[in-house]
């Protein structure tokens, strides 16, 4: 295995532990926003889409590159906005708790 691949493997394994550790503490009340927030975070694929958008060129290559960026952006923007809308409902709570 090359040095770069082994570093990537380290990052992968450590990220699994971080993911389990951080997420296992989320209360069930926030499960839906968590799913939605995590959904937005894998929208990071947009960076990959940008990097390969013009990798092969040609008509088909350009169309596929364009589509990859469209889908990645929809994932990011839609994901964060939906999550924000869900969480906005929790935010107003303390102000009206005792009325």
């Amino acid at each position: 295995m090359t040095g770069e691949a082994i570093v990537a493997a380290y990052v992968f394994i450590l990220a699994i532990f971080v993911g389990f550790e951080v997420v296992s503490k989320v209360p069930s009340t926030l499960h839906t926003p968590l799913m939605s927030g995590a959904n937005a975070i894998h929208g990071i694929v947009i960076v990959g889409a940008m990097l390969v958008a013009s990798a092969i060129g040609g008509t088909l290559g350009t169309i596929l590159g364009f589509l990859a960026v469209v889908l990645g952006t929809a994932n990011v923007v839609g994901g964060f906005v939906v999550t924000d809308r869900m969480l906005a409902m929790f935010k107003q709570r303390p102000a009206r708790k005792r009325e």
Binding site: I56, G65, L67, A68, L71, G78, F80
Partner: protein, 474 residues
């Protein structure tokens, strides 16, 4: 130091914001901030990527793509009703999966053109392609089922598992051919053709995977596909040698896996059972055992006036919300009803089943919107012992999660699923539009219980009428 050397630093910052974002989501007070921190990190990563050498020629395509995808994503997310959130999450998740699959195809083509194909990167590319494509088509089917475009019932036919297994085997076989070619450095068949066929097979596998799963199990499926997309993105990160994609994708893969396990556990079923079991297709025994009038029992229907009287003479009331409440947007009415009862000194609690609604936490979100205090919401384990002390259990649009057949009838498809012990309450009022069975497609014995009174109607209308009646007596 050039700008380009700063890109990995920007990626590192983004990776940290994603971890902080998920951490922020662990508490209601920091959740909004957490989500925004992650969004800011995303923005930093995207801006930094514009400076990467690989991007130079692609700027017009990228800007156009971001404009189209951004408008589509923003409009979709703003316009959607709260009740349609689950299928919206499915849709955005599918978009991410599709993007990962396309990235894999393009990167494979680039590596082939450059003559640098090798085993490790090709394996990661194939995994990103296959998992991403499965997530894309699977999410599309899940969206269709929740949106009512496709039958939410489990779709099954003879020899189904053979067909699904065949698709999986063919995908694996062709992948091995590609890997062999990558190692040997030469291909007997044009590799891009193989990639195209693998893509089609993987898309078909996603459809075959989700179609046989009943609508009641869609929350588990969406959660699983969310984890899939995360994994696909991580694999794309391996292919591209991009640490940020690996970190972010893996974080989501891990969180999705935990959620999926929690949800399967809440239904007392293994994930394998959800994916391959016969849930959703009502078994003959289950349906027959619950036929109305079979053993002389019948349904008792009451009006809003009677319901109001029953409620106003109670001491302890437990509200059991379900998907019907979400569909009718009855959460504000329920809050008003609870306030009225509390002003009479009646103790009101809410019982939240882990899979009530269509996603975990679905009911919490809706009730939070109506400003129902957190400390009134109780998990299944906390509230179940209290039902026998409750004078009235008010079931609003919940069905399968209250069905005693899950405890008593081994022939029922939901047998063994933990339920809310609504039938232990002194009186039960069920607000329901009709006698139609729930999402699992099975009848509910609870409605035949002599203690149960059915208040037929749309949840919002029915609750509104009860509120009117209560105000008259106040």
């Amino acid at each position: 130091m050039t700008v380009e050397t700063l890109i990995p630093l920007a990626y590192l910052i983004a990776a940290v914001t994603f971890i902080l974002g998920l951490k922020g989501l662990s508490s209601p007070t920091t959740a909004v901030q957490g989500n925004r921190i992650a969004a800011a990190g995303m923005l930093i990563a995207v801006i930094a990527t514009f400076f990467a050498a690989d991007v130079k020629g692609g700027v017009p395509i990228i800007v156009a793509g971001i404009a189209v995808g951004g408008i589509a994503g923003f409009t979709g997310a703003r316009m959607v009703k709260m009740t349609a959130m689950p299928q919206m999450v499915a849709l955005f998740n599918g978009a991410g999966g599709g993007a990962a699959a396309l990235v894999a195809i393009l990167e494979f083509a680039r590596q082939r053109d450059a003559g640098v194909l090798e085993f490790g990167a090709s394996l990661a590319t194939l995994l990103a392609l296959i998992i991403g494509a499965v997530s894309f088509s699977g999410s599309a089917i899940a969206f269709g089922k929740l949106q009512g475009l496709i039958t939410p019932k489990a779709f099954r036919y003879a020899g189904q598992q053979l067909v699904t297994g065949g698709i999986a085997a063919a995908t694996a076989l062709l992948s091995l051919v590609v890997l062999g070619g990558a190692i040997a450095g030469s291909f007997a068949i044009e590799p891009m053709l193989l990639i195209a066929v693998i893509t089609v097979l993987a898309l078909a596998f996603g459809v075959a995977l989700v179609m046989p799963i009943g609508g009641a199990d869609m929350p588990v499926v969406i959660s699983l596909l969310n984890a899939y997309t995360g994994l696909a993105v991580a694999m794309a990160g391996f292919t591209l040698g991009n640490q940020l994609l690996i970190v972010a994708g893996t974080l989501v893969g891990a969180s999705g896996t935990i959620l999926t396990r929690l949800m399967s556990k809440a239904m007392n079923r293994s994930l394998g059972n959800v994916l391959f079991g016969a849930f959703g297709a009502a078994t003959p025994t289950g349906a027959a055992a619950a036929t109305a009038g079979e053993d002389g029992r019948s349904i008792r229907s009451i009006g809003a006036e009677d319901a109001a009287i029953l409620l106003s003479y109670a001491q302890n009331v437990i509200v059991v919300p379900g998907y019907g409440l979400a569909v009718a947007q009855a959460q504000h009415g329920v809050r008003e009803l609870a306030d009225l009862l509390e002003s009479k000194g009646i103790n009101v609690k809410y019982a939240i089943h882990p899979v009530a609604g269509r996603m975990p936490g679905h009911m919490n979100v809706l009730l939070a919107e109506a400003n129902v205090p957190y400390d009134k919401l109780f998990d299944m384990d906390q509230i179940n012992p209290e039902f026998q002390r409750a004078d009235v259990a008010l079931v609003i649009g919940a069905n399968d999660v209250t069905n005693p057949a899950a405890r008593s009838n081994p022939g029922s498809p939901i047998y063994g699923m933990p339920i809310l012990d609504v039938d232990k309450a002194q009186n039960i009022i069920v607000i329901k539009r009709s006698m139609k069975p729930g999402f699992a497609g099975i009848d509910n014995d609870l409605y035949l219980d002599p203690k149960t009174a059915m208040l037929f109607g749309d949840a919002k209308d029915a609750v509104g009428k009860v509120v009117q009646e209560l105000k008259k007596t106040a």
